[in-house]
């Protein structure tokens, strides 16, 4: 009986060795994870202009073109390139008689290459969250019919701005 028990133990030990070998070979387990989320984009905020009348230089006279000084504010967190500046209403002056009798000042609008040319050959780029001034040469015209009371007046030119992200 003693001899028989020893052999039974040998058999059991053989079986256990199978378990241990397998356990070592595949000791690492893995787990998986899943889930959902979202990423949301902002919407563009409109460009605006900043009053710059105090910075204007008198260079406009009847029959000639003059400078349009414009300061554009970009409230977006990314840089913007202005692609067009167009007229957006009646041009007025700081002299009521000038306007009543006809100031004769016009702005035809600028876009594309013409805008770049008017800006001295550079794109009208505005950094994120920044306001930048641009001097657009020859952008406004004063006709010969401009009233004499317009001498020394400062004109306000309403504009509409278009641009795109320039990141």
């Amino acid at each position: 009986m003693k001899k028989l028990a020893g052999k039974r133990l040998a058999v059991i030990a053989g079986g256990l060795s199978v378990v241990l070998v397998a356990g070592v070979a595949f000791a690492a387990w893995t787990a998986s994870g899943t889930g959902n989320g979202y990423a949301k984009a902002i919407s563009a905020q409109a460009l605006t202009t900043v009053d710059v009348h105090a910075s204007t230089v008198a260079d406009l006279y009847p029959g000639f073109d003059g400078v349009l000084l414009v300061k554009i504010n970009n409230p977006n967190p990314y840089p913007v390139r202005v692609t067009s500046i167009t007229s957006n209403g009646t041009i007025t002056s700081d002299n009521a008689t000038c306007d009543t009798n006809g100031n004769g000042v016009s702005f035809a609008g600028l876009s594309g290459a013409a805008l770049v040319t008017a800006n001295g050959g550079s794109n009208v780029d505005i950094a994120a969250n920044t306001a930048t001034s641009f001097t657009l040469t020859g952008a406004v015209h004063m006709s010969n019919s401009s009233d004499t009371h317009c001498q020394g007046a400062t004109f306000t030119v309403p504009v509409s701005l278009s641009g795109a992200s320039n990141a």
């Binding site: 052999k7 397998a22 893995t30 889930g35 967190p77």
Partner: protein
């Protein structure tokens, strides 16, 4: 993929009764998923099927075919599933079932390079080491704003891995980019993100 490897173990059996014990033991291995089949090709001595072997011993060559899914063996041996251990008396640790991943971000804009905070929650009773997290953009709420990389570029986590302690949450920052060339239609869009990941025992 089915495993075709086989291991051969020599077992000494005195008589048929011993062979029955071996059969019982190896059948249990099959039941446990360790082996898919067991056969007893005779190596030496008389065949059990031919009656009692002559002498005191017979030498059996025991062939144990490997299981069809080797990974399951590791799981079965290294930890125990809660469903199979309702009393919690097993000496093996419970198998981690899964972990959860989530995270949102707002304020994306053209050219944005932001860090997406991804929360990894380990609700298991064991620590895990997260080895990779994959982010897939599965949809948007704007018709002309596609899920392609031209509009949004999340970055996957590929290691070296980080430990999330049991029943805790870790936040990892994963870069996400909205290209400057993103479609105009993506203004105000919400991109649906799908997370998947894997972890190992630390």
């Amino acid at each position: 993929m089915e495993t075709t490897s086989r291991a051969v173990y020599s077992v000494t059996s005195e008589r048929t009764t011993r062979a029955k014990f071996v059969s019982w033991l190896l059948t249990a291995l099959v039941a446990a998923g360790i082996a898919s089949s067991v056969s007893f090709p005779l190596v030496g001595g008389a065949s059990p099927s031919s009656g009692k072997p002559a002498g005191n011993t017979s030498v059996l060559g025991v062939q144990i075919a490997g299981p069809s899914a080797v990974q399951n063996v590791g799981n079965a041996l290294d930890c125990v599933d809660d469903a199979k251990n309702p009393t919690g008396k097993s000496i093996l640790p419970p198998c981690p079932k899964s972990f959860s991943i989530g995270g949102n971000i707002s304020g994306l804009f053209p050219g944005a390079h932001l860090n997406l905070p991804v929360l990894v929650t380990n609700q298991n009773s064991q620590d895990i080491k997260v080895m990779q997290i994959q982010i897939t953009v599965t949809g948007t709420d704007k018709a002309d704003c596609s899920t392609g990389t031209t509009n949004l570029q999340p970055t996957n986590y590929t290691g070296p891995g980080f430990v999330v302690a049991r029943n805790s949450t870790v936040t990892v920052l994963m870069p996400i980019t909205m290209p400057g060339s993103v479609a105009n239609a993506c203004q105000g869009a919400t991109f649906q993100l799908r997370y998947s990941g894997s972890a190992v025992k630390p």
